[in-house]
Structures are given as structure tokens and as C-alpha cells.
Subunit: 410 residues, 2 copies
Amino acid sequence: MRIEIICIGDELLIGQTVNTNASWLGKTFSSIGAQVVKCSNIADDKIEITGALRNVAEGVHAVIITGGLGPTKDDITKHTLCEYFNTELEIHQPTLEKIQAFFAARNRPMLETNNQQAELPKNCIILPNNYGTASGMWFENNGIIFISLPGVPYEMKGIIKEEVLPRFQERFQLNSIYYQTALTQGLGESFLAEKIKDWEEALKVQKLSLAYLPSPGIVKLRITSFKGQRDSLLIDRYLAELNLIIPEYLFGFGDETLPSILGKLLKEKSKTVGTIESCTSGLLASQLTSIPGSSAYFLGSIIAYSNELKVKLVGVHETTLEKNGAVSEQTAMEMAEVGRKKLGVDYCISTTGVAGPDGGSMEKPVGSVWIGISSENGTFAKYYRFGDNRERNILMTVLSAQNLLRITLK
Amino acid sequence: MRIEIICIGDELLIGQTVNTNASWLGKTFSSIGAQVVKCSNIADDKIEITGALRNVAEGVHAVIITGGLGPTKDDITKHTLCEYFNTELEIHQPTLEKIQAFFAARNRPMLETNNQQAELPKNCIILPNNYGTASGMWFENNGIIFISLPGVPYEMKGIIKEEVLPRFQERFQLNSIYYQTALTQGLGESFLAEKIKDWEEALKVQKLSLAYLPSPGIVKLRITSFKGQRDSLLIDRYLAELNLIIPEYLFGFGDETLPSILGKLLKEKSKTVGTIESCTSGLLASQLTSIPGSSAYFLGSIIAYSNELKVKLVGVHETTLEKNGAVSEQTAMEMAEVGRKKLGVDYCISTTGVAGPDGGSMEKPVGSVWIGISSENGTFAKYYRFGDNRERNILMTVLSAQNLLRITLK
């Protein structure tokens, strides 16, 4: 199945917005075995939109159009589509009711422009938007599917996942690709490749392909079979083998995340968790509670950014800070240990480090981080050395802390 | 001057790489008054590349082609260009010497593939690359300029700045585009449009164009002039006027963010801040400390997810929780007020709400949030009603809390 993507928006052409929709769509369609053959950014302009629709790449089965569906007047996609597909707008009653319910639930008045969002082309399939007020539209013309979606990423993604992918999978034979993804944390792409070299060779012999999908702090390994489900047991066997090779890095599979895995482990063991954070300043707690129902095991945290609060609020001894500094094994351990009692949790994670760009020294350069964990089985802290980038250092600390707790819980 | 961009690379189509080159080029050309009319991602494939060259948008003066010039075998751009422009490769002596010097300086051996990078088309202008080994190429055909550049961002940017922009500015009479962006929080796109209707009409009379750029919780308003810097004072006047119309929503301009603006305000007033968080669970603190140097005004936080910790750690009265529940004006106010003393800060923000998907009731449905602020001037709390999506509710609370503190500080 061949797909073309057309992204409408002046903000993309003048470079004010980076087009992350394009890469998400590319990833998503690749994962179901469809191929994106072309992707264009064009202006919010009738002539440009019409031109792009007319010049669709050869052999394309579907065209995904994003953007230009908001309620304000600089949006003209809907009218252009009507003209191009020779149809007109009419009130789509189910959409109108949905928009009315959307505003009623938020206790906000509806404006005329919101009403207009229920005016939709007569001859298209309406794709409901459960995250906003601009519906998706599915046209067919000369054997090609044209789908127009809002440009707001979470609205676009919602409609693609709920409405578009199931239809594509049913209509085109897309079930021939089967893949599983293993999730790793703590090793860069090239080091990981070195560690699993022999395993990767064995995969190749079985005609299974392996892709490294790196993102900051996490590398996903995707094994793909072009024989579909028939290879699922074989792939499961290879994943189990991988887990024996890199148990400290492999944290999960598929759609799992570190917070979801920790949630599962903590619930299984009926244990609670809390954090005492310095350099991560709440991002660790925020990650742990990103899972619905996390209040079952997450109780609370103290963010002690200043040394004064480390002493006053957490209960770290002043002498510990004076002797070792805030970024030290001793401080990290004491934060976790004293904090565990203060929060009344079974497991307490502490973070303290130099996130940067300031605050580094010869002895403790930017990127130096200590992570501590305390439980009834004892307390320990581990040293990490990340890079120069503040945002990345905080993120790496948050991911490493979660992986360290995972290993401890196992 | 009209420009089209063609980005070559399978990694862009399968979504493994986000195309940041496109947005950089858009920004850069806009800033000299040229207009990017189209930007496409296409595959590393002879047929696709030739097709894209043949179908350049109407009225385009220059086509920028990035990618597909590296030393590995999957790169075929150079050969395709030779065929398309009816020429052949020959060793370009100055480039060969430059590549040799490049490797000598790095004390690395040269491979055959590096030698091949000095083989360049006969009938083009060579644009030297001072950051790598793949030269840029400038062709002209039927009055259109075609420029092929490497896809590695810093190499591409270097050649654009040093070789391409000066030539464009000399050859085309470039009338520059000038734009300014106002940032708003707390009003959806359509409500905002309604509120500033008259102001927007006045802009149009002055031939200034306005675009709404929405993202979750924030709508950016971009005013563009095609007369360049000459309109800068006029635009400034309109922005000042906008600030009088929506002072509670307009929080900043250009590259500013809520954390950067709060940082500036708190530093100016020499005040400190801390948070007592329930539903946002550390994300608010994490945002406030996303700015380098935030330790100057941010001291710390307590995340009291459980009611027990709201009492034990923060000091909220048990009777307040029993009488009003955790998600209530009274609890939000007490969290902020008692928390302010506990943390020893000048301003304390509290958040308590039903993030969802569970925990909602008829009286307090999912999306109900109270935000409290306490300072020496007093304590208050404000009610917000967001939607059904947990992640979005947390994000909206974090943004609204920051905007509420901004208004309080003003």
C-alpha cells in the first residue's frame, strides 16, 4: 500500500513549526506495512492545495492531508476540498451534537465558528474526532482515498489510530508484516549493537530483520518478520534469549513504558513508592504518576532543590552536606533513606546531580548524577555521568532512576 | 523570490528522523524575504528524485535539494543529477585537495569512497563545504536554479549561510518578511478569535496578516508584514494594543515561555517560589526548573498525592479534607497557605484535581481542578474545568497555574 502525505500550513513553510506529524505518520504507516512514498508541506492556500491534490504521486492508494481545519478564518482546506470533490457543505447532525456535548461538558458557551465545524461535505465519510471539534473527512476519487485531518497532533493521531488504521488494515492486505519491539534503557545504540552482535547474526539467518530505533535514553529494537504471525513463536524465543543477554537494560516490550512496568511490579508486590528529588525537580514523580491508577502505589515526593530544604524538609543531616556536598553518594543515600520514613513508603528513590549548564566543577562536572534507592532491604546509590545538555541530563536521570528501581524490584 | 525544497531520505519517510532541516530552511529564507512555497520529503530513489525535479512548482526561482550525498552506497543523488542535467562526473581538483586536507587534519585514513566525493558534475558551480566532505552543487536549467546540498544539518547550514544566501541576495531583489508572535494561554482558538475580532480587522486594513497557531493549552498569534522591518513599529503598536485587550491571556512574545517569564518576574522582584502538588505530581515544579539558573528563585515542592501526606507532610487539617474533600477550594487554599510556610517561599502554588480517567463523580467530574496561590498578600484559589484526557488535564493545569502566578505577580 502506497501513501502520500500532504501537510498544510504556512507555519511549516516559514519554519515556525517543525513537522513532527510527518515523522509520526511515517512511523505509524511503516509499522502496519504501508509505505509513505512522498510527503509535502504546502501553504494554507486554495491554489496550492488544489495543485497538490491534482499532482498526487503515481500509484498512490491513499493521500493523508493534515492541517487547515481549525475554527478560525485562516483555514480554508474544507472549502477547497468541497470544490475539488464537487460537493457542498451541510450540517452533519451527529457531529453537531458531539460538538455541543464537547462544550457542555466543559461548561463553555458555543460560538458560531464552532457550529460551523459541524458543516461538513455531503459526499464523504465523517471520521469522528474524540479529542477536538474538527472532524476527519474520507473522500474517494478515481480509486484514490483522500483523508483530511486536523493538524493538531493529538487530534490527528487519535483519528488515525481509531478510524484510519482499522479501515486500511481491513481494506488492504496489511497483515503480512509482524513485528515485536524490545525496549532497552541505559546503553547507547553502538554499545548495544556490540553486546548483541551474535544474537543479531542468528536473527539474520532466520530472515528476521532488526531495526534500532533510538530516542534520548531509550533504544527500541524492532524485530520484523515478513511472514506474519507464523513467525510469532520464533520471535518470542529470540526475545526471551535477548532478555538473558541484557537483563539489566531490557525493561519491556511493545507499548510498555518504564512507568507502566514499575506500576505492574509495585502492584504485584503490594508495595508503595515515593521520591526525594533534587536535580530532576519533580519530573520523576510526574513520570511515575503518568499511569492511570498510580495513586494505588505512588504516595508522594519532596522536591528539595535548595540545600536548606534537604535538611529542613527531608531530614538530611547538615554535616552530610557539609562533608560530601549535595551531589554525593552519601547525600543520595541519606535522601532516600530518611525520605523513605518521611513519606512512609516501601521504596524511595532519590536524585541529586549537576544538571547544568552552571554548577559544574572539576571534581563534579555538569552531568554528574547520583541516584539512591532505599527499601527495607537496605539503601544504595549509583553514580551516572551524562552529558552537557541540561534537559537531556534531567531526562536521562529520570529514565535511569526508573530502570534502577525496576532492577531492584526484580 | 519563490523557493521549493526537496529533502531526500528514506529515514524521513519512515519517520525515523524528524525533518528539522525543512523548518530551518523555512526560517532562514523567510528572514531574507524569500518565500518557501513547497517542501517535499522523497525517497533515496532515482525515479522519485527525477520525478520531483520534473514537477517543480510553478513560478519557482530556486530549488534546494538536501540529502543523499554521503559516502555510503545508498546515496544516488549525484548520479541522478548528472543524468538529469545531461553531464558527467570528473575529479574536481580543489575539492580533492580539500578532502585530503580534511582527513590529514583529523589524522584519519582516506577511503576510496572519500576520493569519490571529489568526483563532481562538470557543468555546475561547486559550493565548498567547510564542515564535511560532500560539496554543494549549483545548476541552472531553463532559468531555474537547482542547488544540491548534503543532508547533515550543520554541513547544509554552513553552505547555505556561506555560499547560497549571499548569491541569492545579490541576484534577487529581496523584500524581507517581518513577523512577531504573541503567546496566549487559557483561551481556545475560537474564543480568542471572538475576543480580538475588531483588533484583527484593524490589522487587515494595514495589510498585516494574522495566523493562529494552536498547541495544547497555548495559542500563538503571528503577525506578518511583507514590507519587512519598515512595519516593525506598527506591529509593536498592535501588540501593545493586544496586551490591553487580553492582559490575562497574553503572557509573552516570540521565544518566551511561561517558565522563562516567571523566572524573569521572580528575579526582578527577588521573590522565591515553591509548589504543593497533587494532580500535577511534580510536573509544575519540573516546568518551573526547566530554565537554567532557576535555583535562584525555586526552592522546592511537596507532592502530596495521598490525603495522608497532605496532612502529615504539608500540614493540611484533616477536618478540611473531611469536610470539603481533596479537590476543593478550601483544600487548595490551605495547601498553598500552609505549604508556603513549610517551604519558606514567598509564593506557593497548589494544585488539586481529578486528572482521570478514574476518580470522577457527578459533583466533581474528571477534569475538575483547583489551583491555589498564597503569598504575603493573601491566599486564593481558582476553579478550572478541563476535559477527559488525563495527560492533557495535567498539562492544562500546569500551564494555567503558571499563568495564574504570572497574573498574580503582575
